[in-house]
């Protein structure tokens, strides 16, 4: 079993390198909350680009993407469709949020919202919803890391041990270095993943079918139902257009609302960088193409993996690749999982402390950083618990989380663009929308036309927000104009954070 040892050695080397970069990055930022959460607002284009890119290229894309293309065919195309749609509006919203962050010292999106709509309850509500959405997302990344390690080491390192090993390292550098570690490790891992994905995406169809075109011709002849949307469901029946289309919409609406992405508006050095990241985002989205090719390459493969999410490591181990390449692949897939997982852990702890605790209990800078670190550990443990007994597909885990996170979009848009929005409108809208999501999540057979529960939530959320806002007295014009028209803050202006 010499090859197994070589693979393990490569993985250990890679994990060590990641740890080193993560720790080195933290030495350059200040020991303040702004340093830990928002990197002293000093991220440049390269780092911002890969932070955004890493979210596309998570374990979700690297394992879930091929898993879906393999088992559900064109259903996976929804993943290719939503990213750019969701990120494009950020060209305008991102710099606006960043400007308010600089003026008023915000480091989370709840602080921005509570600045406009003063309510400690709103702050806590956003923190709770965010953490609920984060758990399945982090669980997915951990399972991804575990799956890769277990498959590639041929079971010598089991899923639980593999996940614990990879995430032990993530927790260490996030604990010590904060967001700076996330930024620099993502850059390193991002470059690594892109190379691996394109190489494998072109190599596997070539070695198994003689090229991408011949592969699709054979699939078209033998399994044509896989090549046209909406593809199949997990059980192999035809998926519905309602489910497919609303999965695109809910993900597009939700993607920028993820705190780990939203909060990076506060970490960017200037607005130019935020805009450039948006313009370059489609280039990252295209890396889903090789990922799908990998999944499609498995369709006509004679053997079947134990679970669709295993298709990528499964194929690699059966195509006589040298151990060195397998080791590098394993490291690439781990990158995918870890580069998203670290951002998620970091963001969830930041949100829990900044939005869930601080509005109620004043904390010093040191106390805050300490509590965040405890929470990074706690979130890691909770997600790990779910990662151990869970047989949901990786993509399904993420789609569920999107239903909740998309509910943050109406408050953000209203907060920055609608003067007439009021605090009661925002609160009731958010409560009604989230309640609807949970209702249809648990009673999914009641969903009309198989629409995604997140979209159903928004269909309730937006009218409630608008009607209640119009029925309640408007905010003071000087206050709402600070946010909607970016008018300069007036001395002693209303609506400053209550804990200040």
């Amino acid at each position: 079993m010499a090859s197994w040892h070589l693979i393990t050695a490569i993985i250990i080397l890679y994990l060590g390198l990641t740890l080193g970069i993560g720790l080195a990055a933290g030495r350059r930022t200040s020991k303040s909350v702004t340093g830990y959460v928002a990197g002293d607002r000093a991220f440049g284009l390269l780092v911002m680009y890969f932070i955004t890119g890493a979210t596309v290229f998570s374990a979700f894309a690297f394992l879930g993407g091929p898993g879906w293309a393999y088992s559900r065919g064109a259903a996976a195309f929804y993943i290719l469709s939503y990213g750019v749609l969701g990120v494009a509006p950020w060209y305008f919203i991102g710099p606006k949020a960043a400007e308010l962050g600089r003026r008023r010292g915000y480091v989370t999106q709840a602080q921005l919202l509570v600045g406009r709509f003063p309510s400690r309850f709103l702050s806590a509500l956003i923190a709770v919803l965010t953490l609920l959405a984060f758990v399945p997302y982090i669980t997915l990344q951990m399972r991804g890391a575990g799956i890769v390690i277990e498959a590639v080491t041929d079971g010598h390192i089991s899923l639980p041990v593999g996940a614990a090993l990879a995430y032990g390292i993530v927790v260490v550098y996030v604990l010590i270095s904060g967001v700076a570690a996330v930024g620099w490790t993502n850059t390193f891992q991002g470059i690594f993943m892109l190379v691996i994905a394109w190489c494998l995406g072109l190599y596997l169809p070539h070695v198994l079918y003689g090229g991408v075109g011949p592969m699709f011709e054979r699939i078209a002849a033998e399994r044509p139902e896989l090549l046209t949307a909406p593809g199949l469901t997990a059980t192999g029946d035809a998926w519905t257009w309602g489910g497919y289309s609303t999965s695109i919409l809910v993900s597009a609406i939700g993607i920028q609302m993820w705190p780990h992405l939203f909060m990076k508006a506060f970490a960017a050095r200037d607005d130019r960088i935020i805009r450039q990241t948006v313009i370059l985002f489609p280039t990252f989205q295209l890396f889903l193409i090789p990922v799908f090719l990998i999944g499609f390459a498995g369709v006509l493969f004679p053997e079947t993996p134990p679970n669709a999410d295993f298709i990528l490591p499964f194929l690699i181990l059966r195509t006589d690749l040298p151990a060195l390449v397998v080791g590098l692949f394993c490291a690439g897939a781990l990158s995918a999982s870890m580069s998203t997982g670290d951002a998620l852990l970091h963001a969830s702890a930041s949100v829990a402390v900044e939005d869930g605790v601080r509005p109620f209990r004043p904390l010093g800078d040191r106390g805050q950083r300490l509590l965040m670190r405890i929470l990074v550990l706690a979130m890691g443990v909770v997600a790990y618990y779910f990662a151990l007994d869970e047989d949901q597909s990786l993509v399904v885990l993420l789609l569920t989380a999107y239903g909740i996170i998309a509910q943050l979009a109406p408050p953000v848009v209203a907060g920055l663009y609608w003067r007439r929005a009021t605090t009661p409108g925002i609160l009731l809208g958010l409560l009604a929308g989230s309640a609807t999501v949970f209702f249809f999540f648990f009673l999914d057979h009641l969903r009309p036309l198989d629409l995604h529960e997140g979209i159903l939530g928004l269909l309730v959320h937006v009218p409630v927000l608008v009607i209640v806002s119009l029925l309640t007295p408007p905010q003071e014009a000087t206050h709402s104009r600070c946010f909607v028209d970016l008018e300069p803050l007036q001395a002693g202006g209303s609506g400053e954070e209550m804990s200040a």
Binding site: A74, F77, L80, S81, G83, V84, L85, A88, P89, Y91, G211, V212, G213, M215, F216, E217, A220, P224, L227, T228, A229, P230, W241, G242, Y244, S245, I248, L249, A252, R275, Q276, V278, I279, L280, P282, T283, Q285, L286, I289, F292
Partner: protein, 70 residues
Amino acid sequence: MTLRTLRALTAAFFLCFAALVTWPGYVPFNRVEPLILGLPFSMAWIALWVVLSAVALYLLDRAEQRKRED
């Protein structure tokens, strides 16, 4: 062309994108043949919109940038 028009055009572009990759706008393009660069047409169609998005955002940004420098 004024910046205002360009912004409206960009918004219209992304609305078209959304409409043409979901039901019912996607239906006419949702087919296997012809293969484009080896990819099924249904997949290449979405990839095309992703590429066009980069161009659209770049053009918008160039105009916005000029405006900011004035």
